[in-house]
Amino acid sequence: MSASPVPVEQLSYEQAFAELESIVASLETEQKSLEEAIALFERGQLLAKHCQTLLENAELRIRQLSKPEEEENTEG
């Protein structure tokens, strides 16, 4: 983990989830100082909460790809 991690609120779901996964994995496999472990734990909790919030509030974003070739045909 870097010294100044990105604020959790700015992360996308995928990013937050990936970081949460890696935090849990690194806590479970690597030796950490207690202080470091608690810091990671707290960030992990924030990430989990963030993921849950995103998932609950998300709304599908839908767009249509423009059809450049056909527009040329109809307008040109």
Binding site: V24, I38, F41, G44, L55, A58, L60, R61, R63, K67
Partner: protein, 406 residues
């Protein structure tokens, strides 16, 4: 009425008898009992009973036909006058009208038979060229950020997919690449939509979909160009074309094939509730980690404090105290030992003393004679006649006077 054998026909037959005879002829004919007939539909009527009556015709002849309700219900093809069809069934006679007709049990749009043969040939060739090989197929992303949909913008299939996606995985961004999904221009349009969405949007996964229809309706998805575009797609492709019984060549080429458009939307995305469970599982592991860490820290802390106690001056003093106690104890034991030795000796002396006690001797009948000044009388010469003496016996003293000396 009794059944007449054709061998014994009477000279004049009743109409019923003739009709029944003809019917039996037809029903014993193998060709007429299992036949495909090509023609155009006219006089199409669906009776309130559910049975369908129609006429198949070409330029020179017509054939009456009936489709019983139980079969009519299962026919997907929207039958109507003027439609060219291939009908399968058997020929028999409707006795009351003396009318022979086709009893239809299967019907397909004309040309489907030919289309199907073509489909099989193309499938075999593309399979031999390796287009459908399993090793070629790519895994779908677990959490697609951007989902491309290549389908008709007006079909019900699109709405079904969007509903499914927003229920299951509302985090995704959906980009629709509209295209024709039917007709001669459809293959090229599908190819272009696939190419454009890959090039312009780089989606994580693409859903290629079309609602149900006849084999002919789905034909664009059997086009070699479409198959090639599916195989070449940079993003993995999930196909959901027609209904679960329909297989197109695009389905075989896709990285995953779903039975319907909705099925494809399901296949392409994780489920929201499963994602929630995933997060909860990670939270649980996180908590468990913290608990064990704290537990471990506690126990190593107590081990440390134990060790610390042992190296502290206090511990040393206590140690010295103990050593002192041990020395004291050894001293006490030594003293005790010496005392015991002396005590044993003493009791020996006491016994000796006992045997030497003059009083003991007195008990045996001896006496001690002393002068009045207490000096012991040992010899006769020690005393004078008339001298007073003291005689000590075991139980007391007697005063005596010397009356005689020898």
């Amino acid at each position: 009425m009794e059944q007449q054998s054709p061998l014994f026909l009477p000279a004049a037959l009743t109409v019923s008898e003739l009709t029944r005879y003809l019917r039996q002829l037809m029903e014993n004919d193998e060709l007429l009992q299992d036949i495909w007939v090509y023609g155009e539909i006219s006089n199409f009527k669906r009776h309130t009973s559910g049975h369908i009556y129609l006429t198949l015709k070409d330029s020179e002849a017509s054939l009456r036909a009936v489709i019983w309700r139980n079969i009519a219900e299962r026919i997907k093809l929207p039958l109507q006058d003027g439609m060219a069809v291939e009908a399968h069934g058997y020929i028999s006679i409707y006795e009351r009208d003396g009318q022979y007709q086709l009893y239809i049990n299967m019907i397909r749009a004309a040309g489907e038979g030919r289309l199907f043969q073509e489909f099989l040939r193309l499938k075999e060739r593309l399979a031999a060229e390796g287009w459908f090989d399993e090793e070629r197929k790519r895994p779908l992303p677990q959490r697609p950020h951007k989902i491309g949909i290549v389908t008709s913008p007006t079909g019900a299939a699109l709405q079904d997919m969007l509903n499914t996606l927003s229920q299951r995985y509302p985090l995704a961004e959906v980009v629709i690449a509209p295209c024709l999904v039917q007709g001669l221009e459809a293959p090229d349009d599908i190819v272009r939509a696939l190419r454009n969405i890959n090039r312009l949007e780089q989606p994580d996964v693409i859903i290629l979909a079309r609602g149900g229809g006849s084999l002919e309706d789905l034909w664009a998805f059997n086009d070699e160009r479409v198959v090639q575009a599916v195989v070449k797609s940079a993003a993995p492709v999930v196909s959901g074309i027609g209904h679960d019984t329909d297989f197109t060549l695009a389905d075989f080429a896709a990285d995953q094939r779903a039975p319907t458009p909705t099925g494809a939307a399901v296949m392409a995305t994780p489920d929201k509730t499963e994602l929630m469970t995933e997060i909860e599982t990670l939270c649980h592991r996180l908590n468990q980690y913290l608990e064990t860490t704290i537990e471990n820290e506690k126990s190593s802390l107590s081990a440390l404090s134990h060790r610390l106690g042992r190296v502290s001056p206090l511990w040393k003093t206590q140690n010295e105290f103990q050593r002192l106690d041990q020395i004291m104890w050894r001293i006490e034991r030594a003293i005790q030992h010496q005392l015991d030795i002396r005590r044993t000796r003493w009791s020996g002396v006491e016994k000796q003393l006992q045997t030497l006690n003059p009083l003991d001797i007195l008990q045996r009948g001896f006496a001690i004679v002393t002068k009045t000044d207490g000096t012991l009388v040992r010899n006769c010469s020690d005393v004078e006649i008339d001298e007073e003496l003291n005689i000590r016996l075991s139980d007391g003293q007697i005063g005596a006077r010397v009356t005689q000396k020898e």
